[in-house]
């Protein structure tokens, strides 16, 4: 893409680009090294200020981009790896896509950082928490700013590490550690695919720098070329792990073990969007492989539907949100699969706003309930937590797709693209949307309406969160309300701000496969119809939820109560975890135990111990030779000479 991407000829830009990831790294170092020595106020200040600084610099880049001629540029920092034909510069690529991601990561990240300062204020490892958060943001920034696949991989692994550190943040609790390990290991499975994909890219195109790879791909590769399909599939395996798609999604619900701001950060702004970013970044390759895209769409849709059904019966407030994230991520991959790259990113953005809002709102509820997360023990929180309630309601409306909240626009646009691609997929998408609205309102009614079902002690403890927590909620609620207007549907406005802005990113793909980008014109009637259907479905779901959980005040059954078989199956998440346990964990554990018992204890240990014992025994017997007696020395000497002579004689 040499013709599109030129190096920045401007030292100022280089410095700004360098500072954006550097600031959180500095924050990480300060808080990490001064963990227990820094006072909490200072640690929080450093943690928040560095990310906010990055956000301001990102804004500067964003608004300077037009002045720079709306032209993508790269900034070389240093020559990183140079071995044989492999040449990997450490440089940042600033284009429309990375700018949007930068704003998202640092913007939503800042809000979550500020909230964390309030949420974690009672925690003894406050400084450690902020250093991990900063490292998380640093890794994510490296991931989105890097100009080649290797830098993306470094960031990719970085967020994986940070998720491990943060999910297991309260590392004195064994299940939390297990959840952290699970996230780490499942992500490693995906990373293997991603890594192999990078190797294959280098093998095929002789470079890992985006510009060169895409340029070559657009000129050399045929549509549905076997190698391109292999590359895209391998990359997608990486995305499946990072963005929690079937069958590698099981780590995400368990990731709820971490502190709530971490859940918000992982689910909304950073880690899980990495897979989607990667696919959009590689749009040239994916456009060249329609077969892969079909698989992406199917996996996405299956994940969306599957996770949504599980979400229907979860009783843990954060688990419901977790499954809704998995489901929404499925939506995004569905959009990628039908080549609606911009719509997918649009949904990433709006989802980041309302999902961060919902998680932080849930955190506020948990904070007020002194750590209680079970929806069955809540109820009637509306009065005690007015700000949390209103913001949470906005988030719920946004995720359910009620206009004019942000989720409506992105979801509608996404579903319209799916409708063009396949009516069946659209039908399932709408079904998912129905379930999403239902379980979100179920959550809302259970938590905020009805009578309080917790203990007396919790009732007295109920309080609205401090301003440091409610202000981020309000900011995110505003974003969730107006965020959708950056992508108005064609019927309302010809000017799709986000789509137009992102359009140059697909320039090469458009050149390589012009037919894939032919505009699909939906008639206005169809578009109105689609909108009406998605809103109607959401409204029906809300009304259903109102009748069951609002009016009748049904409370989900207690643990251990008899459930109908289907309900039980869904409540237990289709036993997928148990299945994985049986299929992978248990055999591996069994194999390890067997190997330990028979190979380790029976073969390897005796060999190793045998060497030790032989040495000891040899030493012990040789000790008698060294008696110090002159006579025996002489004898040995003569015998030795005789032996040498004998050997000579034989030879």
């Amino acid at each position: 893409m040499q013709e599109f991407i030129l190096p920045a000829n401007n030292a100022e830009m280089t410095w700004v680009c360098l500072l954006i990831p550097l600031l959180p790294l500095i924050g990480f170092l300060i808080n990490g090294l001064g963990n227990r020595k820094l006072p909490k106020g200072l640690a929080g200040l450093v943690g928040c200020a560095t990310v906010i600084g990055s956000f301001l610099l990102s804004l500067y880049l964003f608004f300077g981009f037009e002045g720079y001629g709306n032209r993508p540029y790269t900034t070389d920092i240093f020559n990183w790896i140079h071995v044989g034909a492999l040449r990997i510069p450490f440089s940042f690529q600033i284009d429309q896509l990375s700018l949007i991601m930068l704003l998202l990561v640092t913007g939503v990240g800042s809000v979550i950082h500020i909230y964390s300062a309030g949420y974690m204020s009672h925690d003894e490892n406050f400084g450690k928490f902020f250093s991990f958060l900063n490292l998380f943001v640093f890794s994510m920034l490296l991931l989105v700013m890097g100009s080649n696949y290797v830098m993306m991989f470094v960031g990719w692994e970085g967020v994986g590490l940070c998720s491990y550190l943060l999910i297991g943040f309260w590392n004195k609790v064994t299940p939390y550690n297990n959840a952290a390990k699970k996230a780490f290991i499942i992500n490693r499975i995906g990373d293997l695919g991603f890594l192999l994909g990078i190797f294959l890219i280098f093998q095929t195109y002789g470079s890992v720098v985006y510009g060169e790879v895409f340029n070559q791909a657009s000129q050399l590769s045929e549509v549905n070329d076997g190698v391109v399909i292999a590359i895209t599939l391998l990359l997608f395996v990486g995305a499946m792990g990072k963005s929690a798609q079937l069958p590698l999604y099981t780590w995400l619900p368990d990731a709820m073990a971490g502190p709530t701001p971490v859940s918000a950060l992982i689910h909304a702004a950073t880690m899980v969007t990495a897979g989607i970013y990667m696919v959009i970044r590689s749009n040239v390759l994916y456009t060249l492989a329609p077969d892969t895209l079909e698989i992406v769409a199917i996996v996405g849709l299956a994940t969306a539907l599957f996770a949504a059904t599980i979400g229907l019966f979860q009783n843990d407030i954060k688990k419901v949100l977790a499954y809704s994230t998995v489901s929404q991520l499925g939506y995004m991959f569905l959009a990628l699969g039908v080549m609606a790259y911009s719509s997918s990113l649009f949904h990433v953005l709006t989802h980041a706003f309302f999902k961060a809002l919902l998680f932080l709102g849930a955190g506020s509820v948990i904070h007020a309930m002194s750590g209680e997360q079970d929806l069955r023990k809540m109820g009637g929180l509306k009065k005690a937590l007015p700000i949390t309630f209103i913001t949470f309601l906005i988030g719920t409306l946004a995720i359910s797709g009620i206009p004019p909240f942000a989720g409506f626009f992105s979801k509608d646009e996404l579903l319209a693209h799916v409708f063009v691609h396949s009516k069946v997929m659209w039908g399932f998408g709408v079904l998912t949307s129905f379930m999403t609205a239902f379980y979100m309102f179920r959550l809302l009614y259970l938590a905020f309406y009805g009578n309080f079902r917790g203990t007396e002690e919790q009732r007295h403890h109920l309080h609205e969160s401090p301003a440091v927590m409610t202000i981020p909620l309000i900011i995110l609620a505003i974003l969730s309300t107006i965020g959708g207007f950056m992508g108005l549907p064609a019927v309302f406005s010809e000017n799709h701000m986000l789509g137009n802005f992102l359009s140059p990113v697909y320039e090469l793909a458009r050149r390589a496969v012009p037919s894939a980008f032919e505009a699909h014109h939906l008639s206005h009637e169809t578009e109105y119809m689609l909108m009406a259907v998605s809103v109607g479905v959401a409204v029906v779901a809300i009304i259903m939820a109102y009748f069951i959980y609002g009016k009748k005040r049904t409370v989900p059954a207690e643990e251990g109560a008899a459930l109908s078989p289907l309900h039980k199956l869904v409540y237990n998440k289709y036993y997928v975890d148990e299945l994985y346990n049986g299929l992978f964990v248990k055999p591996v554990m069994g194999l390890s135990t067997g190997l330990y018992r028979f190979v380790e204890k029976g073969i390897i240990d005796p060999i190793v111990n045998g060497f030790g014992k032989a040495t000891l025994g040899g030493g012990r017997s040789l000790r008698f030779v060294q008696s110090g007696a002159t006579g025996s020395y002489l004898l040995l000497m003569v015998l030795g000479i005789a032996l040498i002579l004998l050997l000579n004689f034989i030879n």
Binding site: S627, A629, T630, G631, L634
Partner: protein, 109 residues
């Protein structure tokens, strides 16, 4: 071979070999079986001399003087060695009042 003197040729080389082998073996047996350090020393001299004899015999039969020069060197070195060795034995005797090598087990470290 013609310039080997008649006197020397009267005794064949094989005889020298047998004799020095016998001498060497006597020396070895003496070294291994005797307990008195001085006698062991003498046996070592015996072995050295058997080697010297062999060297002289070969050098004479091959008309090559190098062997005899070696013998002189060996004698000189042996003399020096005996001087040192005897001095050590005398010192040992002074300390333990015996030159019996069976009670000398101080070579351990």
């Amino acid at each position: 071979m013609n310039d080997i003197p008649e006197v020397i040729r009267t005794i064949p080389l094989n005889y020298y070999l047998y004799f020095s082998t016998a001498l060497f073996c006597i020396g070895i047996i003496g070294v291994l079986t005797r307990r008195n350090a001085i006698i062991i020393f003498m046996c070592i001299e015996l072995m050295l001399n058997s080697v010297n004899l062999l060297l002289t015999a070969f050098s004479s039969y091959r008309s090559d003087p190098n062997g005899q020069i070696f013998v002189f060197f060996i004698m000189a070195v042996a003399a020096a060695e005996v001087a040192v060795g005897l001095a050590i034995i005398v010192m040992i005797y002074r300390n333990v009042r015996s030159t019996d090598i069976n009670i000398l087990n101080k070579l351990k470290w």
